[in-house]
């Protein structure tokens, strides 16, 4: 019997589309990936839809509407493996900034007819709703890590995506520490690697796109930032970025909220 190609599906929730675009941004690998799998559902790229079940579902975006909170369960039931891609799907995304405020006020700021808008009070990661097999971090994700995840799941192994901090990669690529050498506040010590330690290589501090690393000591880092003259309000803001609702960043931001 000929081997059946695994069925890949890509699903979108509340997001900017950047993470699923990362798949199309694999210009050199795209046709090879498309040769190895049956792209069964990927509306951004194709109008063809193949019914489930799917061997691997990639989920982008966070849950922000009652309809989406239902829809994710159907996707989970139809998927052998479910992998979330990006900060929205794994931590709620930038739109989770509503979680710290009153969403009704937000609606009235943006929309003339709040009664037309249906939205939940909080923007939540996929794992709050269904079991997730693997979470790929980043705002946006790293496309090479995405190819690694696809390859790992299609071959039945664990993806190799290191959980250590951005600092480690600065050392590896030989970037002088921006915090020590220039006094530039940097979230690198508490942020998971994945971007390739980009910001320090461009002479700016890390701003936390890949979310908290394993066991981050955010309180200690905040003390260092304070010594550099960063105010309490700015400390609150800096943890309230694209991974604001990830537990360690959420707690640290709240510690500086007055």
């Amino acid at each position: 019997m000929a081997l059946r190609k695994p069925k890949l599906a890509v699903w979108k929730f509340s997001s900017c589309d950047g993470c699923q675009l990362s798949l199309l941004d694999c210009e050199d690998e795209l046709l090879a990936v498309a040769g190895a799998v049956d792209i069964a559902n990927f509306p951004e790229a194709s109008r063809a839809v193949v019914k489930g079940p799917y061997d691997l579902s990639l989920v982008e975006g966070s849950i922000t509407t009652p309809h989406d909170a239902e829809r994710i369960h159907g996707i989970r039931r139809a998927s052998k493996f479910l992998v979330t891609i990006g900060a929205c799907a794994t931590a709620g995304g930038i739109q989770a900034l509503r979680n710290f405020k009153d969403v009704k006020e937000f609606i009235s700021i943006v929309y003339a007819r709040p009664d037309y808008i249906e939205t939940l009070k909080k923007s939540t990661p996929i794992t709050d709703h269904v079991f997730v097999d693997f979470e790929l971090r980043g705002c946006p994700i790293n496309k090479y890590q995405l190819v690694e995840v696809l390859s790992a799941f299609l071959n039945g192994r664990k993806p190799n995506t290191p959980p250590h901090s951005v600092c480690m990669e600065c050392k590896e690529r030989g970037t002088v520490c921006v915090m020590v050498a220039q006094g530039t506040p940097c979230l690198g010590p508490v942020t998971q690697i994945g971007c390739g330690a980009l910001c320090p290589a461009y002479a700016r501090g890390c701003y936390g796109c890949f979310g908290p690393k394993e066991t981050p000591n955010t309180a200690s880092l905040s003390a260092w930032w304070s010594e550099l003259g960063v105010s309490e309000r700015d400390l609150m803001r800096v943890y309230r970025g694209f991974n604001a609702y990830a537990e360690p960043f959420r707690r640290e931001s709240e510690a500086h909220e007055k």
Binding site: D17, G18, S46, V110, R113, L198
Partner: protein, 429 residues
Amino acid sequence: MKSRTVRVDYLARVEGEGALLVKIKGEQVTDVQFKIFEPPRFFEAFLRGRKFYEAPDITARICGICPIAYQMSACHALEDACGIKITGPIRDLRRLIYCGEWIESHALHVYLLHAPDFLGYEDAIRMAKDHPDEVKRGLRLKKAGNEIVRLLGGREIHPINVRVGGFYKAPHKQDFSALAEELKWARDAALATVRWVASFAFPDFDRDYEFVALRHPDEYPFNEGRLVSNRGLDIAIRDYDQHFVEEHVAHSNALQSRLHERNSYFVGPLARYNLNFDKLSPMAQEAARSAGLGPVCRNPFQSIIVRSVEMVYACDEALRIIEHYEMPDPPAVKIEPRVGTGYGCTEAPRGICYHRYRIDDRGIILDCKIVPPTSQNQKTIEGDLRQFVQTRLALPKDKLQWQCEQAVRNYDPCISCATHFLKLQIESE
């Protein structure tokens, strides 16, 4: 009387979530709704209370396909608020990174999203089986655009090197040498793209549109200029709010824009081309002429040719900038915040993207307004469908539906952007 509907519940090959509903009663189209059900994300709300220098990184996240557009509009608006105008090599680098985004986004749309409609494929991957050389060319062209953004911005999606005032780090002149070689290939590939798409069959369709785009005295517009139209609009960017209004309709999470005095209008490559043909480089003008286009094109299906012409221009312009580049030192102008309101409008690949910010003396954003291109095209898209379907009622349903989708994709709608913004549904009652 016989009634029917054409509906597409989840429009494919667009960025974001939208739907289309066309209602037909007898021989009359009775209703057209271009729906945007992409969930709202409230950027304008949570930007309140953030520092002005955070806006380029935050607003980039409105759209993963055109983050540069948001970064550029935010930077220009905030610099306007602080009374700073950027000139010289930093200004050139901003045009260069925008060239990268146009090439990347246009190549994505021309090859992966729109060409399959003309050649009858569900997607570019299926198209690649019969047209491998074209799809590979498209992917390499897209990569060349992304390579500009990556070199200048650090990464393709949500670049990290753009700041209010300029860049965190400027590249050395020699950093561009490999890129320049690839861009020479890309310019030839863009010319080949113009020839390829010009050979497609185009429906005979046009309407009397009002086109709106930036116009600059010396150059094809990216970041600066006046807002002009073919019906006499000629205003400074800061007067945008006096001439354009946003309306909230029940079927859309995107606010629809219209001109105060008239009504719907058309933004994007076709509008830019029609209002700025004379500012295209000679090579881009010649490519357009050889493809059979005059200085004005009113058939939105031919936007695929215009996008390809703009790729020729963007490669040409990028090469010009690289050739004359001298590294700016420092890479950014220092910005001191002051009380004020600033306005910015730049040409995203899909059309004008308007930002307005009011900040206080500490640089805290008090309120802001962001109008993405797709929400401005919504009413025009609905108008196109109304006229388009009316003349094609005899088509079988699946064919009509596909052609309606194609008519929407003419605009390269980016729904993720427009939400505050699509599904296709054609319904006969």
